[in-house]
């Protein structure tokens, strides 16, 4: 009897420290990876500014929610950041459209390889965006979540179930997973069912033929940036609510996001989501210390002395690299058949 309780305790432990964090981290990566996929499919370059754009969107949310709190425009229990997101998305859209007008549009007009030129231009935008964020908000880490921190806490869970090991569901985790499901459902509906969404897919598939069919390329590009603004702002805010805001951290997010996109199959939205969860679970499963988990499961004589941690957390970014290398060696097109767009 005690054995089965131990097994339940072990999995409660794993749920609390691995599954829930990986699900929410994976959702955050997935939203970022979808934004990268959209830019890649329509504008045909890998957007290096994605991480810093997420920081920019989060910055807008931090300022707005600060202002709203000072005015008392809050709802009890709900993070004010959530209420600030819609306005921040508008701000983010304006910023991205401005960058498109000032930077990317110029290079689109030039008949040279968009994949190379776009990447180079986006690296410039990355530095500008990162600079703006650090200028206004500073480089130090900060927390901006208010409202209830937990949907249910470890103590509440323990009291409810009587288990020795508790599971807590953070508000940020709950919001992340819920919003990610809603956004992904919206994106797939938009791309599969609406005329504008189909036009975007057509443009991504065969640009010349899309023009011959009367699809307005400028409109497709505008809508793409609006969708990117939506995904970027929400992904950045959710990541910040979960782990705190630090510009450098956002900048480095580019790596797991790119890994997700490539692992899943470049240009495939489903692939981006699958890749994001693969990367998130790998990072957390490999850096988690299993000592306590094994103590629950193994007989006393076999209890481990070490932490049983496969890789130190400081190496977590290396995991993205390793996954990337393995996929590129074994299945270069990614889990879902991605397509590399060749410049015409």
């Amino acid at each position: 009897m005690s054995d089965s309780i131990d097994i339940i305790n072990a999995f409660a432990l794993l749920t609390n420290f691995v599954i829930l964090p990986a699900l929410s981290y994976g959702s955050q990566l997935a939203l970022g990876a979808l934004a990268v996929t959209l830019v890649y499919s329509i504008l045909r370059f890998s957007n290096f500014a994605q991480g810093d754009s997420m920081a920019f969107g989060t910055m807008l949310v931090i300022f707005l929610s600060g202002y709203m709190i000072s005015k008392g425009w809050t709802i009890t229990g709900v993070p004010t950041a959530l209420l600030a997101i819609p306005i921040a998305i508008i701000g983010m859209s304006i910023y991205l459209l401005l960058m498109d007008r000032l930077v990317y549009r110029h290079y689109r007009g030039i008949k040279i390889k968009q994949s190379i030129v776009g990447i180079t231009a986006s690296i410039g935008v990355m530095f500008i965006t990162g600079g703006i964020v650090r200028f206004f908000l500073g480089a130090s880490a900060q927390r901006f979540g208010d409202g209830e921190r937990f949907i249910f806490s470890v103590r509440e869970f323990k009291a409810f179930t009587g288990l020795q090991q508790g599971i807590a569901l953070k508000t940020s985790q709950f919001l992340t997973i819920t919003l990610a499901i809603l956004l992904v459902a919206f994106l797939f509906y938009f791309l599969q069912k609406t005329k504008t969404g189909k036009a975007m897919r057509a443009y991504s598939d065969n640009k010349e033929l899309a023009l011959l069919s009367g699809i307005d390329p400028d409109k497709v590009v505008r809508i793409t940036w609006l969708l990117v603004a939506l995904f970027t702002t929400i992904a950045g805010t959710l990541y910040g609510l979960d782990k705190g805001f630090a510009p450098q951290q956002y900048h480095l997010l580019l790596l797991p996001i790119f890994a997700s996109v490539i692992v899943g199959g470049i240009g495939s939205p489903i692939g981006a989501i699958a890749g994001a969860f693969l990367v998130a679970f790998s990072e957390i499963l490999l850096t988690y210390a299993y000592k306590k988990f094994l103590i629950y499961l193994l007989p006393l004589s076999m209890h481990p002395n070490s932490l049983v941690q496969l890789i130190g957390t400081e190496y977590k970014y290396a995991i993205s690299f390793v996954i990337l290398i393995i996929v590129l060696l074994i299945r270069p097109t990614g889990l879902f058949k991605g397509k590399v767009i060749v410049d015409e």
């Binding site: 005329k195 897919r201 057509a202 598939d205 065969n206 899309a210 069919s213």
Partner: protein, 234 residues
């Protein structure tokens, strides 16, 4: 004046001159074919007619109206439709979605036109939920025709519709083209398979180095000993 007329077209790619006073025309319900050796400027004529390449001089008229200054998209809206030689479908979209995209600029109900395309190409109805990239070459060509027909065009421009297909599929495609013509459209096509194309053509233009070398009905051109010798292999 013919329904679609390109008159005395002069065009170049950068500094390389391609067309020198070249003229082509086609009437409604007529199939006109442009043939000629490689590099004669056959595809360039199409690009100029469509406004994808600007002519240095000359004019393009549709039903008597000068459309030379219109953009490609506006010409499509005026009734021109184009089936490019390669990359003429949206590969990762279904057959039905390809047709819907063909009718993108239309504000009215396009479902009736989709029905008409299915009537003309029944196999597309069976495959309507399949991705275009999963179809055979001939079927894909039918999707390409169908997509172009969605704007209910009066003129259909085809760039080497039989390039790289087997003889059986070629016959199938030519019979599709005749169906399109018999539906009352003006069809102008560029073709490598000169003999077969002239056989079914109402009108032919032989282009050499961007100039009209011979013009006549398909039958006349096939019988013309000079054309036979130079372009049809004796």
């Amino acid at each position: 004046m013919a329904y679609l007329e390109g008159k005395n077209l002069v065009a170049s790619y950068g500094v390389v001159p391609i067309l020198h006073e070249c003229s082509v025309e086609v009437e409604k319900g007529e199939l006109a074919v442009i043939v000629g050796p490689n590099g004669a400027g056959k595809s360039t004529v199409m690009r100029v007619l469509l406004g994808m390449l600007e002519a240095t001089s000359g004019s393009v008229t549709l039903d008597g109206n000068d459309i030379s200054m219109l953009s490609t998209q506006d010409r499509i809206a005026q009734g021109l439709a184009f089936v490019p030689q390669t990359k003429n479908v949206f590969p990762s979209m279904t057959v039905e979605e390809n047709l819907q995209m063909g009718g993108f600029i239309r504000e009215d109900d396009i479902s009736k036109t989709i029905e008409e395309v299915y009537e003309l190409f029944p196999i597309l109805y069976e495959k309507r939920k399949q991705l275009a990239e999963e179809l055979s070459g001939g079927q894909r060509q039918q999707v390409a025709f169908g997509r172009a027909m969605m704007t209910r065009p009066s003129v259909m421009l085809l760039d080497e519709p039989t390039a790289g297909v087997s003889p059986i599929v070629m016959d199938e495609i030519f019979s599709n083209i005749l169906d399109v013509r018999n539906a009352g459209m003006a069809v102008l096509m560029v073709e490598q398979n000169a003999q077969q194309a002239l056989n079914i053509a109402d009108k032919g233009f032989v282009l050499v180095s961007g100039r009209n070398e011979h013009t006549g009905t398909g039958k006349e051109l096939i019988k013309d000993p000079e054309v036979r010798k130079k372009f049809l292999g004796g």
